[in-house]
Symmetry: C2
Subunit: 156 residues, 2 copies
Amino acid sequence: MAEAESAQAKGGLLYLNDLEIGRRFVSGPVTLDADAIKAFAGAYDPQPFHMDEEAAKDSLFGGLAASGWHTMALTMRMIVESVPIAGGVIGGGGDIAWPRPTRPGDTLHAESEVVSVTPSRSRPDRGMVLLKTQTLNQKGEVVQVLQAKLVVPRRG
Amino acid sequence: MAEAESAQAKGGLLYLNDLEIGRRFVSGPVTLDADAIKAFAGAYDPQPFHMDEEAAKDSLFGGLAASGWHTMALTMRMIVESVPIAGGVIGGGGDIAWPRPTRPGDTLHAESEVVSVTPSRSRPDRGMVLLKTQTLNQKGEVVQVLQAKLVVPRRG
C-alpha cells in the first residue's frame, strides 16, 4: 500500500502490484445540459425521451433524460482522468446499471473502487482488476453503477 | 408468434405480449473510420490507443482501435433502428463484453435475440425482456456481446 500511495503521490502510473482491494479514486465533476443530451442522443440513441422535452413528458422517464450510454461515455472520461493505470484503462467488459436517469443540468462525478485483483496465470506480465465505479449527481444520488474488468500490466 | 409477426409485418410496435424467446432482429450496417474513432475518443475516452496510430502500435491493441463505448454507442443506434419495441428501447442495465476490438474501416451490424420475457409481478402494465445483442464486423467476427435488461410495456 505504501508503494501504491507513493506511486500516485509522485504522479506515477499504477501497475497491478500497486493496486489493493478497496483503493479508491474520485474524479472531478462534469455538467451536462439539454443540448449535450440531445446531441449525443441524435448520434447514438435517437429516441424521443432523449431528444424532445415535450415527448419525454409522456414517456417512462417523465421528462428529458440522458441516454444511459451518454452517462456511461462521460463516466469513461472521468475514469480515464482519475484512475492512473499504467498502459491505460482497458476493459474486456463489465456490467452496468442505471438506478435513475441523468437529467439536464446534472453535475456528475465518478467514484471508483478496486473490488478484486487477479494476477493472470498464463501471462505473468498482467492481471485483471475488477473496478466498481459509481456515478453520482449533485444530490449524491447514484445514477450509474459500472463494474468493469480491466486488464492491468504487472511491474517488473 | 403469429401475432408478433403480424405486428412487425404491419410495421407496428411490439409489446411484451408480442415477444417470444428466440425472436431475432438484424440491423443495417454502419461503417466507422479513423476520424470517427478519434473524435469519439477525444470526447469520451481520450487514450493514445484510441487517438493516435503510432502510439496505438505499442499498446495492447497493436494498432488504432475504437473505444469499446464507441462500439456500444453505435450498437445502441442499431438496436433502436432494428428492434421496434413500443415505448422505445429502455434499459435498466446489462452486461457487456468485447471479445476483439473495432478497427478503422470496420463495417458493423447488430444481431439481437430475445433471451427471456418476464412479466412484472407488481406492475401488470409492463415486464422485463433480456435482449442479447451481438455486434459483428464485416468478417463475421463478434466485436461485442451485450445482454440488456429492457423494460417493455404490456398490451391491454
